[in-house]
């Protein structure tokens, strides 16, 4: 009984906590090759995946590059700002 309740709580907490995303926004300055390099070197994306998200940023104005707990998304945003990319955190359903 106790175990079931704990397990339910953990699941709910995980779901609530995972509902955040890291967005990278288009800017006219950073080179496409630099953005792709950052996505590969920081997030560990394959070249294909990195180029896909980089083109999404370029063409759609933004792309989701990570999903997870809020604290983790804030760490990603700080790392993107470190590279000079424009990134923000928001709730996944916002």
């Amino acid at each position: 009984m106790t175990q079931t309740i704990e397990s339910t709580e953990i699941t709910e907490q995980t779901v609530l906590d995972s509902g955040w995303i890291t967005l990278v926004w288009n800017d006219p300055v950073n080179l496409m090759s630099y953005v792709s390099y950052i996505f590969r070197s920081y997030f560990g994306f394959s070249r294909e995946e990195a180029d896909k998200r980089m083109l999404q940023v370029h063409n759609d104005g933004r792309a989701v590059v990570a999903t997870g707990p809020r604290e983790e998304m804030e760490r990603h945003v700080e790392a993107m700002h470190d590279f000079g990319l424009w990134a923000t955190v928001q709730k996944a359903d916002a």
């Binding site: 006219p28 630099y34 945003v77 700002h81 470190d82 000079g84 424009w86 923000t88 955190v89």
Partner: protein
């Protein structure tokens, strides 16, 4: 400039810059460091105990995004449309982020000072390459902010007509900065091409 190439003996990236090129990048990197230096420092607190406590916690930061568009772009809001969350994030990260940008820019200055003494040969290890990539981006973002570039095609040369040319064309400086900006982009490309 002779573009970056990898030294197969020790893995460093080596390029050769002319004296004007060295001076240019050195000056721009130093300007970025100076611009962010105040934000990277803890405010002066008279009470030594309070100052020590403040320093140990390592937090601080502006209440809102900076009014200087270049600083605002280098230290942007982390939340769109949520001033409270952006302020909280800024309080926890702004100082350390500014300090890292200053340290990267100073690492670029240091490597160029060594290059000047070595007849223009610039040699970068892995950590220095990371400082260079970030500082080149910060310099280009700063130039773009100073020139008011906000979209992909919005450059002064493309907007202005030269109907009323005067003795000193006010766009001369902007055009020169655009050349510098494009050249710094090319330097970034040559660095990246050696990292693939």
């Amino acid at each position: 400039m002779i573009p970056f190439a990898r030294d197969l003996d020790d893995g460093t990236l080596v390029a050769s810059l002319s004296q004007p090129e060295l001076t240019l990048v050195l000056t721009l990197a130093a300007q970025v460091a100076d611009m962010l230096d105040d934000l990277a420092r803890a405010p002066s607190i008279a009470d030594p105990d309070a100052a020590a406590l403040y320093e140990s916690v390592g937090i601080g930061g502006s209440a809102a995004i900076h009014s200087d568009p270049a600083i605002a772009r280098l230290l942007p809001d982390a939340y769109r449309g949520d001033a409270d969350a952006s302020r909280d994030f800024r309080g926890l990260t702004e100082r350390s982020l500014a300090a890292r940008k200053v340290a990267n820019a100073r690492a670029v200055v240091a490597s160029l000072t060594l290059a000047e003494a070595a007849g223009g040969e610039l040699r970068l290890d892995e950590a220095q390459v990371q400082s260079w990539l970030r500082t080149l981006a910060d310099i280009r973002l700063t130039i773009a902010a100073r020139l008011g570039i906000e979209t992909d095609d919005e450059w002064p040369a493309e907007q202005e007509s030269d109907e009323d040319s005067e003795i000193h064309d006010p766009d001369d400086d902007s055009l020169m900065m655009r050349d510098v900006y494009d050249w710094l982009g090319w330097v970034t490309e040559t660095l990246l091409s050696e990292l693939e």
